[in-house]
Amino acid sequence: MNETPTNPFNITKAVDFNDQEINDYWVDIPSGEGFAAMAKPTSPMPMLILGGKGSGKTHLMRYFSYPLQRIRYGKDVLGGIKKDKYIGVYLRCGGLNSARFKNKGQSEEIWADVFAYYMELWLSQLMLTTVLSAVNGATELEEHESAIVLQLLNLIELSHREPPNTLAALNDVLRHLQQELDGAINNSAITGSLPVHIAITRGELIFGIPRVLASSLPSLRDCLFLYLIDEFENLSEIQQKYVNTLLRERQSPSSFKIGARMYGVRTLSTYSAEEDNKEGSEFEILRLDTILRENEHYPEFAKRLIVKRLAEFSRIPSDADSLKAMAESLREAFEEPQKGKFSAPETAYVVEKYEDRERPYFKSLRQYLELGFNGGATPGVRGPTDIKKILEILSCRDYPLLEKANLFLFYKEWRSRHDLLVAAETIATECRSYILGEETGRYHRSLLHFKADLLAQLYRETDQRQRYVGLDTFIEISSGLPRNLLIVLKHIFAWAAFNGERPFRGSPISIRSQQAGVMEASEWFFRDARMLGRDGQIVMDSINRLGTLFRGIRFSEKPSECSCSTFSADVSRASDAGRKVLDLAEKWSLLIDVGGQRDRNTERIDAKYQLSRMLAPRWDLAIYRRGVLALSAEELNSVFDPQHISEFDGLSEKRVARMRAPFFGNKSIGEIDPGEDLRQKLFADQDHD
């Protein structure tokens, strides 16, 4: 029996890596000076590192933390710190269990003070522990320790406690104070009282320890003491306000990097005269996933990430040259559909499958024509013989893709109420010219723009799965979030192993395994993206509606936009509730802000959002962004505002019906009131597409 191979992509989160693994799996972006240039660990200016789930914030912040410096520099960590010019102290806000600092019969103000005190004790311990580890055994510590402790004791009100005389003992005192506070907070749920004596003024130790150490220890003289505060989203607004105040009142030689999800910053307010921190003044922002998504080197980075995993797991050489060679041949590890003229090889199955029966898209066309004929909506068609003739004219049996192109153009003509027999003849002529090499004109243009949609329709109509396959597709799907890429590959690897393949070792991973893996990853992303509380449900429902609308358009007979997974809208005209949900969807990386779009009619610049590419497979949508659907404020509200969702079905149906045969959003003859102008009602809409 074959043993199931270990999946190198099983670990998809930095939190699941130990420090050594964080170091081993580190991959830099191949542009300029890499991530260090972006994160600027030696810069005194505080920085917010924002990014979606899986954007690599934690990996990046841990990479700059002391335990990783220690791994990088081994025994000479102090020398390394001098070279780096910073020492990184890493804190996960999740470890503070910040939700306990509320209620229990105490006011918000009391909890704000208690939390600030708790943070002071916590960060100070982390700083002391870190520095003690770094200078452990150094003679300079021995020489200066008593003086350092004395200076620091001036910053604490110890009351009855015996004053410590070493930094380790001082750290113990801080630990005892913190644990006493833990006990008091815990008991306050029972007793309703919170007896706390705050022994340190806000910021005194957080800034005081680095100041005293830098002035006393020569090896840390030019060093920046960098607090790396991760998972900022775990703090409440009041708690964030305290941290913001630390940023505002920052004292050298300390600085901060704050890691947060995009939705995670609840306030920029501070306790310094209630003023807000301003970007560029009190802090700068690194938007990690935007930078990765828009970085031309992201595909290269993604490939490096993959080959690093494969190399570490297979224990094969991971020197730069070996990795480069692996990255260059990585594409070959995934089977892709055979390329060929007019997609003949990848659609050959249609020829075979429907050898002696009508192809499903022709069956649909025939039914539409019959229905349209009965409804008086088939210009130029005189009866069943003409219908049969049209079907024959549009047929191109060796090239199913071109048949789909013929039908697409035919539906376009039909919507524009042209004579259908004439239209069919014209299209057939264009098709023949195209086959002979004609590369201008609307036939060529239609295929240029709509080929992906026509193939998607073809797969769907012939009961095939959509083909999200190939390395480039997976990189594109990941949308700048490395974790997404790893999760896609994790599922693909698992399916390949399940299907008896030898991923990355033998033949390329089959299309079947890739399809199954991508679909599973997409479903995971949808489930996983759900945020806490009622808003989470509302956002997910909205995304569901948007996906359904895009799918309706893509699989209509005459889609108005190609590869439609993006919309534009004048968001200022949407309701407050609609705007809020839209904003949340963006902050949760379900929608990606892709810049502005000029409205066709008003010249106004509208906001433009793409549905996360990770979600595209869920609705069989395109992952490459091309066409943009302009939504009215009414339509936007029906998607995003819970008060207006009852209008969604009607508005969506109206929008998609204009792209559907046989009536293209207009009434059939049976629906028209007697006396109405028949022709006008049947073709009320002008086709501006």
Binding site: I11, G94, G95, N97, R100, N186, A189, I190, L532, R534
Partner: protein
């Protein structure tokens, strides 16, 4: 060290009358629409019987029994304290029985801490097993709308600034969303799951695992190897406490746990086991009980009563 296995557990008749000596001074039960909860309430003999109506079940005033304690308070400590002040008062020398079947978990957990504070050294807990969960593995106990994941009042522990070997032990129940949310909240912790085996009924273990699998990505690496999953009987709080002791001991032997989070999402007897284990062995340690707080719970998720279990719980002096 307490030997949980000697604690008393027996069975009461599900259909026949209970023995005459099975009686208490105070009997407390949580009101739901489930047949098993009402059956036990009717069978129990006590000087005082109290229904608790939790706001998360969404009962309107005319749908729960007259005299029941109902409060809109959604904080477990505030709710239990308000109930105690309004309905119980001094309990010295009085015997207490709690039917844990219909309790919402955080309230039950805090109640144990409260009883310990009130110097209750021993009480009986009843749990009635259902014939079947109404929608089998698709049963939803909560509305899965998690409002926040937080520590349970009185079980917040003290904490370690070193978080490098934090652990989260999940009592894995049917609600995979809850498992995912709690795992997500303690993303940085290594995860261990305890499944209910033997389960309450023969098919429930498989159903349990099927649901829990859906939270696999959030739970992460440690469920993929052998050391990530453990088992404790779904209906035995004392063995659950023993298993917790064993799991924690085993992890500590490899490398000391820096902070320990326990999240009991499975059956009520297992919840009881988690709370007893905490109070007995983990108070004043870097250990806390965390729970994904939901906006609402389904008041009826089972059919029938298959058997009724009685546990005599001993609480440590605080």
């Amino acid at each position: 060290m307490i030997d949980y296995s000697v604690l008393y557990k027996n069975e009461l008749p599900a259909r026949d009358d209970w023995p005459a000596d099975v009686r208490w001074d105070i009997f407390v039960s949580a009101y739901t629409a489930a047949e098993r909860v009402r059956t036990v309430y009717e069978k129990a003999t006590a000087s005082e019987k109290h229904w608790l109506v939790f706001p998360e079940y969404g009962f309107s005033a005319n749908t729960f029994p007259k005299g029941a304690f109902a409060s809109p308070l959604r904080n477990e400590a505030e709710y239990v304290k308000a109930f105690w002040e309004a309905s119980i008062g001094d309990v010295s020398g009085r015997s207490i029985c709690i039917d844990i079947t219909g309790f919402i978990r955080p309230y039950l957990i805090f109640l144990l801490r409260w009883l310990a504070e009130k110097k209750v050294a021993r009480f009986d807990a009843l749990y009635s097993e259902p014939d079947i969960y109404s929608k089998r593995e698709q049963t939803r106990f909560s509305d899965e709308l998690v409002v926040e994941v937080r520590q349970i009042a009185g079980f917040e522990g003290i904490h370690n600034t070193d978080t490098s070997n934090d652990y989260l032990i999940i009592g894995a129940g049917y609600d995979h969303q809850l498992i995912a949310q709690v795992a997500e909240n303690k993303e940085f912790s290594r995860k261990v799951q305890i499944f209910g085996l033997p389960s309450l009924r023969a098919d429930m273990y498989q159903e349990n695992v099927l649901r829990a699998y859906q939270a696999e990505e959030a739970v992460g690496r440690n469920t993929t190897d052998e050391s990530g999953s453990f088992f404790a009987p779904a209906n035995d709080p004392f063995v659950t406490a023993s298993v917790l002791r064993e799991v924690v001991g085993r992890i500590n032997a490899r490398k000391p746990i820096t902070n320990l989070y326990l999240s009991p999402l499975a059956t009520k007897p297992q919840v009881l086991g988690f709370a007893v284990y905490f109070l007995t062995e983990q108070r004043n340690c870097p250990t806390s009980l965390i729970f994904p707080m939901c906006e609402a719970y389904n008041p009826e998720t089972t059919t029938g009563v298959s058997r009724i279990l009685k546990y005599t719980v001993e609480l440590p002096g605080l």
